[in-house]
Symmetry: C2
Subunit: 320 residues, 2 copies
């Protein structure tokens, strides 16, 4: 069996089966049926060994994360995830690695009802690129550009958990035994807020997912919507694990500049706040209001209750 | 200006503009409008430095080739190219390189009326992944799986030119001055057979593009269609440049096992051969009938006229 057949064995016949994938793996391209009246949403994310992960990271977790970060982008646009393509570059064929990576990929793809429909496999330094495709009713996609002055700013879940998980893995921060499982799960096996993203279609004025940290990410909404924002850091939702493991300064740093939480950040006009509360009850997703959109374009104001909050963002500017 | 802004300047506002790209670069994902009654076709191709090209290759040609190899896959499915995404991994930001690469990419994208609608840029060993998306009337996509016993096998253009161009660049083969421009053009600036691919929708029983060489590629049609094929190598279309530069054995090797020609390989039932001739006249694309589909599944028979032709495929089995 050649290397080609070996690799294709792990990717050609697994994951969810969808009737709208007329042709999947095995031809020059995939042929996909878009429901009439729907738009296509496409996202792309690359994870490079040495930049986004270590070559010896658990391959099952990598497969999971690759799917999740892409599906999270679809969730942030209010789309229904449907199909995935994988561009996989590997220095050599390691069957154990392939088995674990593809298992993580497929179980997560299946969870989100996505079918792997194609891609490319090449030899070179390890790099994982996924392309996720979803559908959204025509004109209903959530974007970064619709926030208006006076809108309320919300986030889902808790912030900073994944960043604490990374620090724990790097030996840079201690976490008590009882919180370790939760924190490592949040780092290695994040979730995408798919159901909530779709539910926000007629409620949120703008939305995006948190991949680089709130402080950095909210500036994309500010820029695309030509607005400013005022955030009350005392309202940032923190997990018990972060509260118990960090002093307040560290907790704020994790919540503001920690990446890879894959929670949703979104804005809601005053008139839709009631609909939001009604909407949320069946989802069980915790959502916190953390501030307002302001008219001072480009200015991000941080407060702690009524007091100004001084913050020097840590971390680095991503290459992208 | 940060690296992010620098890179985005080269990719965010150029290429063709399409009205059906509701949201392009700059959000969590692109939002694309598929015409009612059409299917989506998606292809993915990765080019890795050191594997598919040399890091010091002309970046403008790389940008051109990256678009062309993807659009060629769409052409082989009879699709109309529409949108491109780019996952770009670079070790560092080299503005001259970016300017030339993006120029090659955009001029080629514009030629095929494709809009760049998003992607991801990351730091790491140089690697270029493109995702091309096109549309095709529902159910009309050309595939590798429809060839039937008795169908005629065709190829467009001439075979082996790109492989001769590669040998010329590597200093492994001499080409007379008068043929060098043509041969290098075919290697560095290949074309995709987009118009012809669409025209074949109701005529060809199967189709694919030639990227790895005829001998290797036709086996994909044989496998997916569960048939065999008989090819008359005396009918393989050779350019004057290949004829003048190579002895017959070398010419056959180039035509059978040379890659990257991006011509179309397709099959046509007997009853559609008249339609094919009528169809071809306005296109000006040379097309050659090189053999028939046989019932001996998996067997590729080579002949030279009526004589058996013995051939040991050169080259290597691609990693993929």
């Amino acid at each position: 069996m050649g290397e080609f057949e070996l690799i294709s064995r792990y990717f050609s016949n697994s994951g969810a089966r969808r009737q709208d994938a007329a042709i999947g793996v095995g031809d020059d391209g995939a042929v996909l049926q878009i429901r009439d009246g729907y738009d296509l949403v496409v996202t792309t994310d690359t994870m490079v060994a040495g930049t986004h992960f270590f070559p010896d990271d658990d391959p099952r977790a990598l497969g999971h994360k690759l799917v999740t970060v892409n599906v999270s982008d679809l969730a942030a646009m209010g789309a229904e995830p449907a199909w995935l393509s994988l561009a996989l570059t590997l220095p050599a064929v390691d069957e154990d690695w392939l088995a674990a990576f593809s298992a993580g990929l497929h179980e997560t793809a299946e969870y989100y009802n996505c079918q792997l429909v194609g891609g490319d496999t090449t030899r070179g330094p390890m790099s994982l690129t996924m392309i996720a495709k979803g559908i959204v009713p025509r004109g209903k996609a959530l974007t970064r550009s619709g926030a208006k002055v006076g809108d309320y700013v919300y986030v889902t879940g808790t912030l900073g958990d994944a960043a604490l998980g990374l620090k724990l893995c790097q030996g840079l921060h201690e976490v008590s035994k009882k919180h370790q499982t939760h924190i490592l799960q949040r780092f290695h096996y994040p979730s995408a807020r798919v159901a909530l993203g779709q539910a926000l279609r007629n409620i949120a004025s703008s939305a995006m997912d948190l991949s680089d940290g709130l402080y950095s990410d909210i500036q994309h909404i500010m820029k695309r919507s030509d607005v400013g924002a005022s955030i009350d850091v005392s309202r940032l939702p923190l997990s018990q694990a972060v509260k118990d493991s960090c002093d307040q300064t560290t907790a704020m740093q994790l919540a503001l500049s920690g990446g890879e939480d894959y929670e949703l950040l979104f804005t809601v006009p005053e008139a839709k706040r009631g609909s939001l509360d009604v909407l949320l009850s069946p989802y069980g997703t915790p959502v916190s209001c953390i501030g307002r959109i302001t008219g001072v374009a480009g200015k991000l104001e941080l407060k702690h209750g009524e007091q100004p909050f001084s913050y020097q963002p840590t971390g680095f500017v991503h290459f992208v």
